[in-house]
């Protein structure tokens, strides 16, 4: 402000004020999201897949209850849903590719990550174990697994597997890509398309405390 004028800001003409407020709003949102610019041309998953995933991770939506209002806390938490892209597959083995954001790797600490896979009805009265290998990046076919687990599939429905350590390991190695390999004991494996049964990883993360900074 000019010399001698009051020191409080905001003395613009209405149109300039509106432009300034819109620019401030955009800047505040991008800064709050730790984004250098707005994401361009997103490729949204199908609505059915999105609704199915949201109902799976927020069961209160099924009851028509609004999610609780966020508490006014100092920290900032993120919840991320990453949908699988189909990778190479055989009747016995199927690969799912996940790509997470650079911001998740650089600015965040992963609190929890869960893989959700829908399984079609097995044979009558039977269950089957499915071997799950978690691989680094767009892994080659003989890539070393970050971890391996068994998923006991009983009947039709969603199954969840904790992949927190594998995702932390992937992000700490400087990449945002995770490959999940499913190996069925009784083929064929289900095929996943662009429907409401598309596999996804649900991540809870916290901004501002990446592991390296915490150690220091």
């Amino acid at each position: 402000s000019p010399h001698g004028a009051p020191r409080c800001p905001m003395a613009l003409t209405p149109p300039a004020q509106r432009r300034a407020l819109l620019a401030t709003a955009q800047h505040s949102i991008l800064t709050g999201l730790h984004l250098p610019e707005r994401p361009r041309a997103p490729r949204p998953p199908p609505r059915a897949a999105l609704l199915s995933a949201l109902r799976r991770v927020q069961p209160q939506l099924n009851r028509g209850v609004a999610p609780p209002r966020p508490p006014n806390t100092a920290g900032q938490n993120y919840e991320v849903l990453s949908f699988a892209e189909a990778g190479p597959s055989t009747p016995r083995s199927s690969r799912l590719l996940f790509r997470f954001s650079q911001e998740l790797r650089e600015n965040s600490e992963v609190l929890q990550a869960q893989l959700h896979v829908f399984w079609p009805p097995p044979g009558p009265g039977s269950s089957q174990p499915v071997a799950v290998r978690l691989l680094h990046g767009d892994a080659a076919s003989n890539g070393t697994a970050l971890s391996e687990a068994m998923l006991e599939v009983r009947g039709e429905g969603w199954n969840a597997l904790d992949v927190s350590d594998a995702l932390r390991s992937v992000l700490s190695r400087g990449t945002e890509r995770l490959t999940v390999e499913l190996n069925a004991s009784r083929p064929p494996l289900p095929t996943y398309g662009w429907d409401d049964r598309r596999p996804f990883v649900a991540v809870r993360a916290r901004i501002g405390t990446p592991p390296s900074r915490r150690r220091r």
Partner: protein
């Protein structure tokens, strides 16, 4: 805090809504449809300026006396947000993942004089 009306000249909260369609952001922000940013505007005369949220007391009386006798201190009083709340966003990131987060202190709920 008070909301601004046509006749209000003292410090108040002005409502300001940013429609995401207006700025071309509706393609990546899923929810909500806009941002109730709001802001503070108006004058803070010396008798209004106080520590926001502190009820009338011996201390506020002393502060008002100091301000009344000190023009410089009164000139420094600004109309600022005294209460804010987070903005919840559901959006697509650049890899088309769906992200939900609450950005703290984004919505101005009340204004007051410093």
């Amino acid at each position: 805090g008070i909301d601004c009306s046509g006749s209000t000249r003292t410090c108040c909260r002005k409502e300001f809504f940013v429609d995401f369609k207006e700025i071309g952001w509706e393609d990546w922000i899923i929810q909500p449809e806009g941002y109730h940013m709001n802001y503070c505007a108006g004058l803070c005369p010396p008798h209004v300026a106080a520590v926001p949220g502190v009820a009338a007391s011996f201390h506020t009386a002393v502060l008002n006396l100091i301000k009344a006798n000190n023009a410089d201190a009164a000139a420094d009083s600004c109309c600022v947000p005294t209460q804010r709340r987070p903005l919840s966003l559901l959006y697509y990131d650049r890899d088309s993942n769906i992200v939900k987060t609450d950005i703290p202190d984004m919505i101005v709920d009340a204004c007051g004089c410093t």
